[in-house]
């Protein structure tokens, strides 16, 4: 996903763009004037939200690309709140997981009462702390958009649902008004989706949630919602009967729409480039690829559950449900918490054949080409691990819907063995008869166990070959390296050896380049962003101090991504 860079207007970048690509002069030009900043960051609404609910400790969560505005936002907000009250404002930098989610763990470090979330959001419900989301206001030419939309409506006879990125929410009422005017003579049904609410209240019990993202049979029709948008369809109509019109860039929110409503025709209006994109084959390709991953997952013996969120309501329940599912499928589950997964982190667990990433809907799709093992979503895991279920084309992104929809009903195990398309034949899954047998003659259980233990093992195992080991222990047994070997025959102490000195990027006995070393030095000078730093170095320098006081603002360095700009004082 590439982002256009040609905008000098203060705005929110809707996806993970690294500001490092822009030159410093550009960055200067980006400085928003105070008024515009106030408007863009919805300072007054925020202040009202804080004051009306009388919060005293407020965490402000910024994504990487907005962190540079944090000090100004704080100053503005402080002014708005008035000097009289004692509201504590804390700035949180990047989160452990996706920046679209509210970082509740980070907020709880400072006992915050609420979180103000800036930038692109998935509007996933929180579990304990209320949050106020500031979407930002991306510029859009209403007239151009309406023009494109109406021309599209003209060519397409189907009724249309209009969806949009949340950063365009501010302009939607204008678009709607203009469009209704322009289309007054055409008899095409148009449905505009609404933003659910920018205030997230924690859900005490996610089960009571009104099924966000799911479809509920309301009296008047069917209510759909996805990624913070909600809309109603008249009774008797499904999403297949509508065309989708998406206003916004090609980001994860859009991918979700394409995957979820893969039966509908979808067009995208790119506001920054002012053009209509009708080709969504790349997204359709993703769907096929996911399908392949499900097939891969079916053959897995060991499954790693990656905890990808600590905030989205119901994540614990989901993890438990996944564990249960995996166990029922006769596979082994390991739960791993590792922040944002990357290939190097996941490759540390080569025993896992597949990973399930439990996270908010918009970070759930990890392109797994670089990963040693595929990473799938809980929905895909349900398809893969509950025997007899088949993919019918529907796709569920938000795991809350999964909890609601399928309460792990005990499915009748089908008579047929499972057919694996990767191996081109039947493969045995967990066999129920195995258990029955052991229950029936417990007297023989011990004998059976010893028999198994005494099985002749292959002397030359193909270590690290996927899909053979049944558990982590099995896997380690087949590895060729089992740890240091003790040489019993030599009792003499080993001779003393002097090793290499220096850093791995260039030891002292090798030619070293001073530039590479300079990268690692943090320049503590201005209020501006300085240089790029190796995350490891920052991690060691600042990781020990999760919160630092800086320019009158608390900043969390808890989690630092690779190549992040470092703000120093």
């Amino acid at each position: 996903m590439t982002q256009p860079k040609a905008q000098f207007h203060p705005r929110f970048l809707s996806s993970r763009i690294s500001s490092s690509s822009r030159s410093r002069t550009q960055r200067r030009a980006c400085q928003p004037p105070a008024m515009e900043l106030e408007l863009n960051f919805e300072i007054s609404q925020t202040a009202e939200f804080i004051l009306s609910r009388s919060f005293t400790r407020v965490a402000l969560q910024f994504p990487d690309d907005l962190l540079k505005h944090s000090t100004k936002v704080v100053t503005c907000l402080r002014n708005k709140l008035g000097s009289g009250n004692k509201v504590g404002l804390f700035v949180m930098a990047d989160t452990t997981f996706g920046s679209c989610c509210v970082d509740e763990v980070g907020a709880s470090h400072i006992n915050a009462d609420c979180v103000i979330h800036y930038g692109h959001t998935c509007l996933s419900p929180t579990s304990t702390i209320p949050a106020f989301c500031v979407f930002g206001k991306a510029s859009i030419s209403v007239s151009r958009c309406v023009e494109k939309l109406s021309s599209y409506v003209g060519t397409n006879g189907k009724p249309i649902v209009v969806l949009y990125g949340l950063e365009y929410a501010h302009a939607i009422s204008q678009v709607k008004g203009a469009l209704v005017e322009a289309m007054s003579n055409a008899k095409v049904e148009l449905i505009f989706s609404d933003v659910m609410c920018s205030i997230i209240n924690p859900l005490e019990d996610h089960r009571k949630s009104d099924g966000l993202g799911g479809c509920l049979g309301a009296a008047t029709g069917t209510r759909y919602s996805l990624g913070g948008l909600t809309w109603d369809l008249p009774e008797g109509r499904g999403m297949e009967d509508y065309s989708l019109f998406w206003i916004g860039p090609e980001n994860s929110a859009f991918s979700n729409v394409v995957l979820t409503f893969n039966g509908s025709e979808i067009v995208r209006y790119d506001a920054t480039e002012d053009r209509l994109v009708t080709d969504v084959s790349q997204q359709k390709r993703i769907l096929k690829r996911r399908y392949y991953l499900v097939e891969r997952a079916k053959d897995a013996n060991m499954v790693g559950i990656l905890v990808g969120t600590l905030g989205v309501a119901g994540y614990l329940h989901m993890i438990h449900q996944m564990k249960e599912l995996i166990m029922l499928a006769g596979k082994k589950a390991y739960t791993l918490v590792m922040g944002r997964p990357n290939p190097a982190k996941l490759a540390n667990f080569p025993e896992c054949d597949v990973f399930i990433y439990v996270s908010c809907a918009q970070t759930a799709l990890l392109d797994s080409k670089e990963f040693l093992a595929p990473v799938i979503t809980p929905f895909e895991a349900m398809l893969a691990f509950s025997s007899g279920s088949q993919w019918t084309g529907t796709y569920v992104m938000e795991f809350r819907d999964l909890i609601n929809s399928s309460q792990l009903e005990v499915r009748k195990r089908p008579e047929e063995a499972r057919f694996s398309f990767l191996k081109g034949g039947y493969v045995e899954d967990f066999e129920p008869q195995e258990n029955e047998g052991e229950d029936n003659d417990r007297a023989l259980a011990l004998a059976n166990a010893t028999e198994k233990a005494l099985q002749l093992r292959d002397r030359n195992p193909d270590s690290l070959v996927k899909g053979i080991a049944k558990s982590g222990a099995d896997f380690f047994v087949t590895r060729s390296y089992h740890g240091l070997e003790t040489h019993a025959n030599s009792s003499l102490p080993e001779p003393y050896l002097i090793g290499r000195i220096g850093k791995a990027s260039g030891y002292e006995d090798e030619r070293s380049e001073p530039e590479t070393l300079n990268e690692d030095i943090i320049v503590l000078t201005s209020k501006e962003w300085q240089g790029e730093a190796n995350p490891e170095v920052i991690g060691s320098a600042l990781g020990a101090l999760p919160w630092s006081y800086c320019n009158g603002v608390w900043i969390s360095w808890l989690h630092i991504k690779q190549n992040v700009k470092v703000l120093t004082h």
Binding site: A344, G425, Y426
Partner: protein, 822 residues
């Protein structure tokens, strides 16, 4: 027994006569019905696609059995016959048929002679230790079409038999004994399947033995080879005396009489015919006497020399009974120790022993979606309701993998188009079982529930491989479950077809050839998916990635944390080594000492180096390897597993187009590791190893390998020009051109890239006005000489196309992404 031959040599037609003799179809229609071609498209195309089993019961007369020397009980014989397809695309069906039979009737067209497929199936049969008998078929062509005279015909037959014997002689097996065929011993028959008649020399020997007053065996010898008879002098000689009346025994006593009868029939000289027939003790029914011409001839010949009796006699006399055959076949069949109870039961064909049954194919049942498991009982008995242990192809004794216990719902005897349910089936027979299809993909070994120590019966080895692939998808997205179900069934219904899924999520169907695939897809859509529409892509050919020479320099990659470095070089494997790995002569499970001996002696490896092979790949057995060339590197053994994992990954998806690698040897030159174990874990090493493998591949002049067919074409001389021009146009090249002695036909062997082969048959047919018919078998991988790294080269075009299909970035990842600088 199975009936095997080249395509269009008349297997199914001949089988009909045997079926007719067992009373299943009427004699009159034998040869036209083609009982064993059960499918509509088989009848339509006139070729057999699936092998079909048929169990035939005969009662032989005492008289005909009096010269039978082996043991026998009673006169009843049960012959389990399997008719197999001749087209090379379906040769997996032949393999499946051979496995469950003990004898083979090799059918050879007397004019076309021994063809490529005859040779292939014959060698396959011998590999399975199956005793062959030969029949020289389409004799009617000699008499009616070509009207050759006796001596010429004899020479032709002699050559056919000799050619077959040459093939069989190359295969020496002390246990099987002499497998060559001799007309004078009765192991060669002469038949005309279409007209339903056949004879062996025995028939004529019997007839003449009394007349000449000599022993039957002696007479037989005289009827073949260099034995001449001069009716004028009434003397036998071993040389042609040169007198006009002196003729070869075979010509004089076998060929001429038949020719005479046929000619009289065809000319409707009935007045002459009846006395002749009377002489031969042939009595015709009155209504048959009304027949004319060809019909009359057919009827007369059928009555005089019924194909069934000649062939049956040959089979009964010369093909082994199961108990006899299993004595020597057990070694080929059983995977476990040859002295255990199961091996003994198979050896003795013991009906009281433990059940050992091999399912060699699955036959679609009439109720859609279900299958019969068709196989052969090698020992014990299988009965309705019996609980059996199903050991799949991946079963390892002592483990639970690929093992099911299920009960047989019904046992059935296969009778061509219909089936008959029976209570039980004892060893030595073919059987079809109901109720096991949901646990067997293609083949399996069955045994009794409690026989936990039994090893499975060895898996079949196919002579063709699925190289032609298409991606299928359904027209309506919601039909996906139907497609999945259909593919599952398709995979079952054919021993060779492979249904898989690509990284991009496309369903792939792979078959042995274009025709095979066409049939498979038709089955898929019509039978297994209930007519739901599918879209198929153009045929997809899989390539391999290899390297031309050694890496131009040692490449290095750093781990993500920069604390570890791997140095590596790639080089091509020695010629023939990749094939040796394919064949399993060299593999990961070898004893390192033996392996290093082979490598040192045949491929010139350094002996110590050969012991330092870390692994093979992809899938741990593939034709690429990693060799450790480091000296004195600390902790090296610690990262071996990680490097191996990275290698399995990289060798499966090469750097050019994510195709499998082939024939690359990666040498680990040096390794620098962090002193702290936590910084050199799998997470750091596996991705780094993958990158360095790619870097070394890219620096070693990477090349693409394309699959190449061996094409064999038989055509008359005037068609040669057309053949050559089509081959040239398709990048093929002829390496052998031979005239078939005694015929105007030419045999052409050529190599043809698989990617050019689509539509080859039809183009060829068009260019030669239907006179040339090619048979393509995958032969080898051929390196494409053009450099895929060079834009606009042919290889680069292929790479771009593959990448596009797989949904990869159009540009190859540059070397700089994989290689790091110090």
């Amino acid at each position: 027994m199975s009936v095997i031959a080249h395509v269009d040599h008349g297997k199914s037609t001949l089988t009909d006569s045997l079926v007719a003799a067992a009373g299943i179809i009427a004699q009159e229609v034998a040869g036209d019905v083609r009982m064993t071609d059960t499918r509509a498209d088989e009848a339509e195309r006139g070729i057999t696609i699936k092998s079909t089993g048929i169990s035939l019961y005969y009662e032989m007369t005492d008289d005909s059995l009096k010269s039978y020397k082996g043991e026998r009980q009673g006169n009843e014989y049960l012959i389990n016959l399997i008719d197999s397809p001749g087209h090379v695309d379906f040769s997996s069906e032949v393999t499946a048929a051979l496995r469950i039979t003990d004898g083979a009737l090799v059918v050879v067209d007397c004019i076309e002679g021994v063809c490529v497929q005859t040779e292939t199936v014959l060698l396959q049969a011998l590999g399975e230790r199956i005793r062959p008998v030969l029949t020289v078929n389409k004799m009617d062509r000699c008499f009616l079409e070509l009207q050759v005279d006796g001596e010429e015909a004899y020479q032709t037959f002699q050559r056919v038999i000799e050619n077959a014997n040459v093939i069989m002689a190359t295969y020496e097996d002390p246990l099987l004994g002499d497998v060559q065929v001799y007309p004078e011993k009765g192991t060669v028959a002469f038949s005309a399947g279409l007209h339903g008649w056949a004879f062996t020399l025995t028939n004529f020997a019997k007839m003449y033995a009394s007349k000449f007053g000599v022993d039957e065996a002696k007479m037989m010898e005289r009827l073949w080879g260099e034995n001449f008879f001069d009716p004028a002098t009434k003397k036998w000689t071993t040389k042609n005396t040169g007198s006009a009346t002196c003729k070869r025994g075979f010509v004089q006593f076998c060929y001429e009489p038949i020719k005479q009868i046929i000619n009289t029939c065809m000319n409707d000289q009935k007045d002459k015919l009846w006395p002749m027939l009377q002489k031969l003790n042939v009595t015709m029914k009155s209504d048959e006497k009304e027949l004319m011409g060809k019909a009359l001839m057919k009827r007369v010949m059928q009555t005089w020399l019924p194909a069934s009796s000649a062939l049956l006699e040959m089979m009964i006399f010369h093909l082994p009974s199961p108990s006899k055959a299993q004595k020597y076949r057990v070694e080929n069949l059983y995977e476990g120790p040859l002295d255990d109870v199961y091996a003994n039961a198979i050896r003795n064909c013991d009906p009281e022993g433990p059940l050992m049954l091999y399912v060699s194919k699955m036959i679609p049942a009439s109720d859609k979606g279900r299958f019969f498991a068709f196989g052969r009982v090698f020992s014990g008995k299988v009965s309705t309701g019996l609980k059996v242990r199903i050991m799949g192809p991946n079963y390892v004794p002592g483990e639970k993998k690929d093992l099911y216990v299920k009960s047989v719902q019904r046992t059935v005897i296969w009778m061509g188009k219909k089936q008959e349910t029976v209570e039980d089936v004892p060893c030595g027979n073919t059987v079809a079982m109901v109720g096991l299809d949901q646990f067997i993909t293609k083949n399996a070994t069955l045994t009794n529930e409690k026989e936990v120590d039994a090893h499975p019966i060895r898996a079949m080895k196919f002579s063709v491989s699925p190289v032609v692939r298409v991606a299928v998808q359904c027209k309506v997205a919601s039909d996906l479950p139907k497609l999945v179900e259909g593919l599952k069934r398709l995979a079952k219904s054919d021993p060779m077809v492979l249904c898989s899924i690509e990284e991009s999520g496309e369903h792939i169907v792979a078959g042995a050839g274009e025709l095979h695939l066409e049939i498979c897809l038709k089955d898929l859509q019509e039978d297994f998916m209930g007519g739901a529409e599918i879209i198929k892509s153009d045929p997809v050919v899989s390539f391999r990635e290899t390297v031309l020479e050694r890496s131009c320099r040692t490449v290095m990659s750093k781990s993500p944390n920069k604390h570890n470095r791997l140095y590596m070089e790639a080089r091509p494997l020695e010629e023939g080594l990749a094939e040796a790995i394919d064949e399993g002569r060299i593999g990961p499970r070898d004893d390192p000492k033996i392996r290093s001996k082979i490598l040192a002696e045949e491929y010139g490896w350094d002996k110590d180096l050969a012991k330092k092979i870390w692994c093979f790949g992809p899938e741990t057995t593939g034709p690429n390897m990693v060799v450790d060339m480091c000296k004195g590197v600390q902790y090296l053994n610690e990262i071996k597993d990680s490097v191996v994992a990275g290698f399995q990954w990289a060798s499966k998806e090469g750097a050019l187009a994510e195709e499998n690698m082939r024939g690359i040897c990666f040498e680990v030159c040096d390794v620098v590791l962090h002193a702290d174990a936590i910084h050199r874990g799998g997470g750091q090493i596996i991705p780094t190893a993958r990158r360095v493998f790619y870097a070394s591949q890219l620096t070693a002049k990477p090349r693409l390998l394309e699959p190449v067919y061996l094409v064999e074409i038989q055509a008359p001389e005037q068609a040669l020009g057309g053949i050559y021009s089509v081959l040239n146009q398709k990048r093929g090249h002829v390496f052998e051109e031979m005239q078939r002695p005694g015929t105007p036909l030419y045999n052409i062997k050529a190599y043809l890239p698989v990617i050019e082969s689509f539509g080859f048959s039809s183009t060829l047919r068009a260019a030669t006005s239907g006179q040339a018919f090619p048979q393509c078998v995958f032969d080898h991988w051929d390196m494409m000489s053009s450099d895929p790294m060079e834009p606009n080269s042919q290889a680069a075009a292929h790479v771009a196309e593959i990448r596009k299909r797989k949904g990869l970035k159009e540009q190859m990842t540059p070397l700089s992404e994989y290689e790091d600088k110090l």
